[in-house]
């Protein structure tokens, strides 16, 4: 399955891109996709417990299963004011 990943704020800077596509196995979840990304970019791993995620612009938890063509967003919290 092909999915599109959107990264925001610091995550985008670490990965060096705001948007990428990945092929995932059947049964993949938001969480397993995140772990794949964290393996590619080790500096992402420390954000795991702090991010929120969305699938197709709907807030989603890490255990949410993915479908072909899904757009997955990962958002770190930001605090600037």
């Amino acid at each position: 399955m092909r999915v599109t990943v959107r990264l925001f704020a610091r995550l985008r800077e670490i990965a060096g891109t705001a948007e990428l596509t990945r092929t995932v196995e059947a049964g993949a979840t938001v969480g397993s996709l995140w772990k794949d990304l964290a393996r590619e970019h080790a500096a992402l791993a420390q954000y795991e417990r702090s991010i929120s995620s969305a699938v197709n612009a709907d807030y989603a938890r890490m255990d949410r299963p993915l479908a072909d063509g899904d757009e997955v967003a990962f958002l770190p919290p930001v605090s600037g004011g």
Binding site: A18, R49, A73, P77, V78, S79, G81
Partner: protein, 389 residues
């Protein structure tokens, strides 16, 4: 909101005429604004434009909580303050500006740090709370206090070129904790002071917050509830995520575990003051001051100096002889350094270089000193001819 709305004077009718001729606002909507109140937490990047538009729009009572002083580095985005205000209290400066914009409103200022002790007292008289703070402990505090008091929180937050906005704390909508139940570990997310911010960005987000506050007060339109707005200034794109209320949310869920305000510094892992001083005493053997470093250089015994800031910061000011290895590159570049050689690591204020020192010690470096107060202290104490940022 008070059940009997205040009338508009002839002067006010003239001033607000562009509102009054729109049926969605009209005289009744304008009277609701006049009878309404908004408490701005912070008179900084977000609070500045928000408060100015709220004042111009005729919100009858605007409160501001802040305890800071206007600095030159604020002026690039905090447009409520002007160059002559540098050094003045932000509250005094903001109040002057708002009353100059609109003398028909009341501006109440609270020169204190928002805390679990004063939050209920400060929030209680206001209809809407506008979160323009710059740190996680205060954001969680504002969120929880709004949920517990049943007050809407027009939320905004910024990072470099990106911003977020939403309305939290409404009965049917989610709160900030539905989206982010746990705060990030301290130091993981850079602040504006550490990461920088495009000056116009808080203008966009702060004005969205003010728009939502005005809609809530007048009852017009669809509030940004259950929707998380994301703005990217570089791509000039808005996106929106749907965020439902989380039934398991510790504050606004069906079985809340947070029923009163807690210690938010501790919750966010920010070190309590007492412990912090102990650590700094204990770590004295690992630090060097800028004056001591200057003496070493003057004696002809300079240690190797590693500047762990980013290249654009290195361009602004630097310590002579320092080599640039940005913190993020250190894990793959530390082999360029000699683990037994004496090293001084430095950054802007000493935070990033403390992490660099910890890292270097963890990989076997034995003689690493952190420059206390960073390059800013160097400029203050040793070389005032260099600029600060």
């Amino acid at each position: 909101m008070s059940s009997t709305l205040p009338d508009l004077s002839n002067e006010e009718i003239k001033r607000y005429s562009r509102h009054l001729i729109m049926p969605e606002v009209g005289v009744d909507g304008q009277r609701r604004l006049k009878g309404g109140s908004v408490l701005c937490i912070g008179a900084g990047g977000l609070g500045s434009p928000a408060a100015m538009y709220l004042a111009a729009a005729g919100v009858g009572r605007i409160g501001i909580v802040d305890f800071d002083v206007v600095d030159y580095s604020n002026l690039q985005r905090q447009i409520i303050h002007g160059t002559p205000d540098v050094g003045r209290s932000k509250l005094v400066s903001a109040k002057d500006r708002l009353l100059a914009l609109n003398p028909h409103i009341q501006v109440d200022t609270y020169e204190e740090a928002l805390s679990s002790e004063n939050a209920f007292r400060l929030f209680e008289p206001y209809d809407v709370i506008l979160d323009g703070t710059d740190n996680f402990p205060t954001r969680y505090l504002v969120n929880d206090a709004c949920v517990l008091l049943g007050k809407p929180n027009t939320y905004g937050s910024i990072f470099r070129f990106e911003g977020q906005a939403s309305v939290f704390g409404m009965k049917k909508g989610p709160c900030y904790r539905c989206l982010y139940p746990e705060p990030p570990p301290p130091g993981l997310v850079p602040s504006c002071a550490e990461g920088g911010v495009l000056g116009v960005l808080p203008g966009v987000i702060g004005v969205i917050q003010a728009t939502e506050a005005i809609k809530l007060l007048t009852g017009v339109g669809e509030p940004l509830v259950g929707r998380f707005l994301l703005y990217d200034a570089l791509k000039m794109r808005f996106r929106e995520l749907k965020v439902p209320k989380d039934p398991d949310c510790p504050v606004c869920g069906t079985h809340p575990t947070v029923t009163t305000l807690i210690d938010y510094e501790q919750f966010c892992g920010v070190r309590p003051a007492a412990e912090a001083s102990v650590v700094s005493v204990a770590s004295n053997g690992f630090e060097i001051t800028s004056v001591e470093l200057k003496q070493r250089i003057d004696k002809g015994q300079p240690p190797r100096i590693v500047d762990v800031r980013e290249p654009n910061e290195f361009q602004i000011n630097r310590i002579p002889g320092a080599e640039l290895i940005p913190l993020g590159e250190l894990p793959r570049r530390y082999a360029e350094l000699d683990a037994t050689e004496e090293l001084v690591v430095m950054c802007k204020m000493g935070g990033r270089s403390a992490k660099a020192a910890d890292f270097l010690r963890s990989v076997g470096f034995t003689r690493v000193l952190n420059l206390k107060g960073g390059v800013l202290d160097w400029v203050d104490k040793v070389d005032p001819s260099q600029p600060k940022y």
